[in-house]
Symmetry: D4
Subunit: 251 residues, 8 copies
Amino acid sequence: PISTTQPLYWKVSNPTLSPTHLQDLPGFTRSVYKRDHALITPESHVFSPLPDWSNTLGAYLISPAMGSHFVMYLAKMQGNSKSGLPPNHVERFIFVVQGMVILTNIHGNSHKLMVDSYAYLPQNLEHFLNCDESATLIVFEKRYEQLENHIPEQIVFEFRKLLPTSLPYDFNIHIMDFQPGEFLNVKEVHYNQHGLLLLEGQGVYRLGDSWYPVQAGDAIWMAPFVPQWYAALGKTRSRYLLYKDVNRNPL
Amino acid sequence: PISTTQPLYWKVSNPTLSPTHLQDLPGFTRSVYKRDHALITPESHVFSPLPDWSNTLGAYLISPAMGSHFVMYLAKMQGNSKSGLPPNHVERFIFVVQGMVILTNIHGNSHKLMVDSYAYLPQNLEHFLNCDESATLIVFEKRYEQLENHIPEQIVFEFRKLLPTSLPYDFNIHIMDFQPGEFLNVKEVHYNQHGLLLLEGQGVYRLGDSWYPVQAGDAIWMAPFVPQWYAALGKTRSRYLLYKDVNRNPL
Amino acid sequence: PISTTQPLYWKVSNPTLSPTHLQDLPGFTRSVYKRDHALITPESHVFSPLPDWSNTLGAYLISPAMGSHFVMYLAKMQGNSKSGLPPNHVERFIFVVQGMVILTNIHGNSHKLMVDSYAYLPQNLEHFLNCDESATLIVFEKRYEQLENHIPEQIVFEFRKLLPTSLPYDFNIHIMDFQPGEFLNVKEVHYNQHGLLLLEGQGVYRLGDSWYPVQAGDAIWMAPFVPQWYAALGKTRSRYLLYKDVNRNPL
Amino acid sequence: PISTTQPLYWKVSNPTLSPTHLQDLPGFTRSVYKRDHALITPESHVFSPLPDWSNTLGAYLISPAMGSHFVMYLAKMQGNSKSGLPPNHVERFIFVVQGMVILTNIHGNSHKLMVDSYAYLPQNLEHFLNCDESATLIVFEKRYEQLENHIPEQIVFEFRKLLPTSLPYDFNIHIMDFQPGEFLNVKEVHYNQHGLLLLEGQGVYRLGDSWYPVQAGDAIWMAPFVPQWYAALGKTRSRYLLYKDVNRNPL
Amino acid sequence: PISTTQPLYWKVSNPTLSPTHLQDLPGFTRSVYKRDHALITPESHVFSPLPDWSNTLGAYLISPAMGSHFVMYLAKMQGNSKSGLPPNHVERFIFVVQGMVILTNIHGNSHKLMVDSYAYLPQNLEHFLNCDESATLIVFEKRYEQLENHIPEQIVFEFRKLLPTSLPYDFNIHIMDFQPGEFLNVKEVHYNQHGLLLLEGQGVYRLGDSWYPVQAGDAIWMAPFVPQWYAALGKTRSRYLLYKDVNRNPL
Amino acid sequence: PISTTQPLYWKVSNPTLSPTHLQDLPGFTRSVYKRDHALITPESHVFSPLPDWSNTLGAYLISPAMGSHFVMYLAKMQGNSKSGLPPNHVERFIFVVQGMVILTNIHGNSHKLMVDSYAYLPQNLEHFLNCDESATLIVFEKRYEQLENHIPEQIVFEFRKLLPTSLPYDFNIHIMDFQPGEFLNVKEVHYNQHGLLLLEGQGVYRLGDSWYPVQAGDAIWMAPFVPQWYAALGKTRSRYLLYKDVNRNPL
Amino acid sequence: PISTTQPLYWKVSNPTLSPTHLQDLPGFTRSVYKRDHALITPESHVFSPLPDWSNTLGAYLISPAMGSHFVMYLAKMQGNSKSGLPPNHVERFIFVVQGMVILTNIHGNSHKLMVDSYAYLPQNLEHFLNCDESATLIVFEKRYEQLENHIPEQIVFEFRKLLPTSLPYDFNIHIMDFQPGEFLNVKEVHYNQHGLLLLEGQGVYRLGDSWYPVQAGDAIWMAPFVPQWYAALGKTRSRYLLYKDVNRNPL
Amino acid sequence: PISTTQPLYWKVSNPTLSPTHLQDLPGFTRSVYKRDHALITPESHVFSPLPDWSNTLGAYLISPAMGSHFVMYLAKMQGNSKSGLPPNHVERFIFVVQGMVILTNIHGNSHKLMVDSYAYLPQNLEHFLNCDESATLIVFEKRYEQLENHIPEQIVFEFRKLLPTSLPYDFNIHIMDFQPGEFLNVKEVHYNQHGLLLLEGQGVYRLGDSWYPVQAGDAIWMAPFVPQWYAALGKTRSRYLLYKDVNRNPL
Ligand SMILES: [Mn+2]
Ligand SMILES: [Mn+2]
Ligand SMILES: [Mn+2]
Ligand SMILES: [Mn+2]
Ligand SMILES: [Mn+2]
Ligand SMILES: [Mn+2]
Ligand SMILES: [Mn+2]
Ligand SMILES: [Mn+2]
């Protein structure tokens, strides 16, 4: 039985291919997982309850099983939700993509985090996030790599600003903006890993020999040494959030 | 400057990938053109005025430049439009996908053709189509291959019915229906060519070594001898219109 | 000398391609072993005596040498056969595919397990299986990953039922049923591993960029993050047994 | 609803993959059609009535639409069936694979053709085949390429013998036998085309860069210049029927 | 013996890869010739004297041996050079890329053509080009396809303007400009052929499944139906010259 | 039974891989036939009697069935052998690779041709070659493309010299020499076809995306527009014989 | 300067391709190293002095850097040579391919080992090999995997015999013989690793999707789970030496 | 706005493709990173301050994240720059590519190092480098693999000489010179790793199945067992610096 609300053969001239219409195009996905990179697009997200959080669904996009040394996941906090803590010696970085959360640490300090705000939580710092209505976060977690005499501190920014590049921090988060037509000058090959979420715009990402059209909502994992290059296209700027490990000897 | 009507980063959780939103995903298409088959999906349609028609836009999906011996095109008739004639010795088949047209032949006979109706016009038969409001047709044309003592006649059906399989006709049109889960038993390899338009439903088409998710609106060209197989999926029936040359010696 | 029981050239119109007729089609197999998945079909099974069992032949289909953190093997118990124990700290899951076995644990409790029955044996629990006539089991084994204050218990079900999803269990077993035409809505990409045995039916499995026709008796290994999707085809339901690791932090 | 005549999960230990069980393995075929060769296996045969024959089903395996200059087809003659004639100037070769037929030419000469018998019919020679019960033929047809002062004659052999290699004949038919372990010494590259039907045995065919396990019933098309090599395997001899164009200038 | 004008190992930090330094990178070229498109880059140009011209070197970039129905070539006119005529029934289009030429037709009319000027010469029109110093032209030639009652005329423009789109003309020439970040909305699939020379700027061309970085000086051949898409990148506009056949029935 | 003339396992330290030891390496060949080029190596040569010659075996390496407009073949003349004539309007070029032949034309002129000698025979010129002992020739033949007022003449050179480049000749033959380390400066892409026989030395040939190690005895076919490049390696010069069509309009 | 001992162009009709003529075919090798297997052919052997041996050259064909848990190497002992010991806890297996050696262990027992003889030396057993003239050995070494209450013993066989299959031994060595036409019935997929040296004969090895012609002297590495199959061809038997790990739990 | 300093369309006849003009050819790079080797070309270098050095930029070309057991990096020392120390137990090798540095060790010994000079610094030896103006170094570092009773010493050479091959050293550095046309005789397959920097000249490197044109400035990583071969081309010698691990048991 076919739908009666539309004229016969209506889909012929009105086809759809939206990631949120999962019943469309059986088996179709833009997601790719190769030896040295992955592209994970929305129709491949698998959400399930985050074990130590309440009322929160999570989708892990990057994890060490893929070759990375960090995890990157989406957390969808719902009404009256509360976060759990990462394992011991694990640092955490959160960035608010949608909605609003309250971050409270062990000293009772509270911060309201809106879209575009972010926070860095050093290893072993007790803290929790609350959400009254709904919020979507992108979270990075990594086992902290100690460096003698260097101690990272908690950082909370309600506006966009870069993480310090000083030695205590063993990774960095950049927010990269490209105007249409701009591209990376260097076709980079380096030992650092990347986790990336495209926040706005669209363009073409070259990874190794593969060229991918990408748009807001797409996530990318880049293994060490994969040749990489981005070009922004269209009429609006491209913006992405970029994780990169730094400040530790690569040997 | 980005749109202000939606919250920041709204596209991250509401991505789109519609063939009709051409500014999405730069350079992305599901269209494929290989040696022995082609898949032509809506975001690749190029419409331009049909030379001998009035007020009508056409998009050629299959033509001899591709290796076929026939053309298959979409004709979008607009208000007060009228068709032209095919070249001499060329037969024509039309099928109404959307809207309504009036078919009139040289003897003054007229037929009203609604969605699902079709007509066969033998070579050198003068005729024209009129459309008052709007209509979308799929049209097949082919240089007629004579057979002594056999003469095909004009056929008009307002309801779905098969073209005669008798010798005068050098091609045939089938409307194939599959319930979800049904598939072609034989993984066919044959000398006949096919032109196909998926009218309803979705599934997987195997052509040679390639497996394609397909949905209503997709068109396919199958060269002689390409291994071919279809399986219908989802909750609704699949229906496709299928051109096949027949009744002539393959040598 | 060719067989005289059939007419000359009889095989031309009666070809066979059965996995159990190993002398057919030299070198032909549907088995595939790629970086991120494997398909192991019956003509590739290598059975040999299971070291600590008596009168039992085993074929390992998945093991850590492939990248997994578990083993999956077929055990063919013959008359008067008895199982051995897994190594220390290794949990075990068995599912009866053919025949009947008696499971007895250290406390002297016995269960008769028919086809479709299964049992979970926690790490370090002494137990054994007996078979009088013949039985085929599919067995999963894994080094148990401790979680403070959580202890899994032995479970035996003579009818199909799901394993508890509670925290003590570090993997889960699903029996998935699909009616013809049904398919996975999400084209999943996730960090969890899978071991799969198709028990009934047939369909198409997409793994990364590869599309595999599959049928009852086929086994599949899915590494973390391989894009995955199944569609059931034909006239009967598809049923498969699915291992998935859960409830442990992916970092 | 699944079959009740077999125990549950019976197919797990009794899988089949027979070309004649078309409902097995959806979409699976060994047929391949590449630029310079094709392998056509039984699950891809499409039989339909042969236009000028009575009570006969035909499946074209090779035709000019594939690049060849000849056709090769299977003809399944049923009770009281009779052949038609090829077009003008077309020569014909038939070989009986199963059953028995009577060949009669315009002069009233009749021959009974059993399995392994064959006949060559020059262009424009009127003739017909009759079959009382059932017979399967493999038929080759080609537009005859004239050579001044050379005229080919009708040939009928009831036992296996080679076609004359003299100049009037513009193609040749070989029956090639290989004992297990034997192979073609030369890895041939030549301008001649081949049509091949494997009558007995099994082995490996290399065509270009592809290696194919083959068995009785498989048909092969080799375009000019495809590198080609066969090795026979197993415990019985391999035998194949081989078309090759000869005796005409390749320029 | 290595060069003494530069310090030892100077090339390590000053590598070059210029198409005009042919001794660099042995065997390296960006040129590609596939079934349905070609990219011809400057290090692959083979210039030789144009037979009917004087003092002129030509490099054919596209010709029917490639599958096209037209030729496209570069003509480097030197001091005191003069053009020859195309074969009978062949129309010609010239565009000045560098330098200056005088075009004179049979009626004695003369035009001075600077960079960016172009001329269309109908079939069988006698004419010649003179160059005093040096000039580089891009020339298109095609056997004219007659249309009853339609006659094309000579056209000369000293400034950029489009060729008429009226029926007499069986091809068209477009000059396409893209600002950085702009791209073709439709990922075109059509029966028309293209010849293209990139005059300014740089970007990415997708042809079928291949993505090519391109820059000024690159030429492209697009066969009918190859999926095609361009995106302009960098800080300056992209401009290309585009041949397209039009106005004739594709059957 | 294995050979007793060598110690056991002697082949382990004395493997061979000679094209003339056809029983070596089953199925192994370096011959390749792709869309736009072919490499034909000695283990793929198929010799058979040349129809109009006496006592001569021929192996066609290139013919129009491959896409060329000429043939190139090896002719092995034996004792008391005599050549036949090419078809009407076909010109011929011969080059002696081994042994000695006598060339006699219709006017009774005779030339003794040793290794390295060659002769050009215009279309329709009656002539014959005699060989007393043995000789190996490489022969090119092509249907002559007329040009008004231009007539090619017979040419015989007993020493190496180039064919005239004047307009009557519609192809040319070059003997190219490279010292070790030398390579083609231009990575050529052009509309002309090539037939090539490597006479001495070894090196690497790039054709399209493929890189081939080559040595004396290898033959190559290059279709129009295949990107092409050669580099000579080793301690001795490379020399090859090269056919190229010239002097005719490519449209 | 080219060699003067052979006639000009002599190599054209006498090409060679021998692994021991390293100056032939620049860059040509049949060696392949893929993710799940390797083929190492003689022209890729790199011999250098074995560190703890005297007067002995070794070529490592398989080592853990490749993914294996064992090494396999060729040892060429010369006059007055003596072996060194493997590292602690490493067991060793030797097989004589050419020549003769004397094996002496710590207890003063001596064995003369001719071609086809072999010896197993348990971990930490002091021993040495002497060679007076010359000998070629194939040597396997592996870190011994302890099993409680099981102790392997030294074994020396001067004639071909299988290693015991009892539990103390954590690997096994098979000598496999195939008559021409014979092949492995099962297309094996298993967790065990293999090291293989082809001692006699020739055939085709299928590894994953790749088909390799192989002959005596070729070595193969098979990673766990690579689909594997061999067919013997030609007129003589195939014999290979095969390492396989056994008797230890695969988890 | 396009540049006004050059005539219109100037780039068409003067294209560039220099690695140092990063704005050319968007997304173009010759860099490749595969499973078993990498080619890193200058347009992919990412320089950033070396953490423990002053005034020095470094680009890591090879690191363990790629599969190596060593690092190889370029260090660009600027005016008044000073090196840092490698981690404990890490040995270091430096080679001067451009400029001049002073090396001073803990005993106060100083060496002036010019282009072509190099030094080996054993693990845990305190030392530093000073540069007054500018210098480019290539640096190798590796965790030293101890060998009982063997101690490596510091080595400084101001002229080119090989590192000792004695047992204390667990890696070696070779400077390999090839005259044009020379190539590696053996197509090597071995367990040792390589890091390579091409200092002079150009040629073709074969790695596995890939053939790369290379020139001075290119760096290569070769994993264990990748088949490898180099041929030098052009008119000048090729010279490369080559790291290779030696003298340690591969098990
Ligand atoms: Mn980066
Ligand atoms: Mn069909
Ligand atoms: Mn899943
Ligand atoms: Mn053949
Ligand atoms: Mn277009
Ligand atoms: Mn050329
Ligand atoms: Mn095996
Ligand atoms: Mn090496």
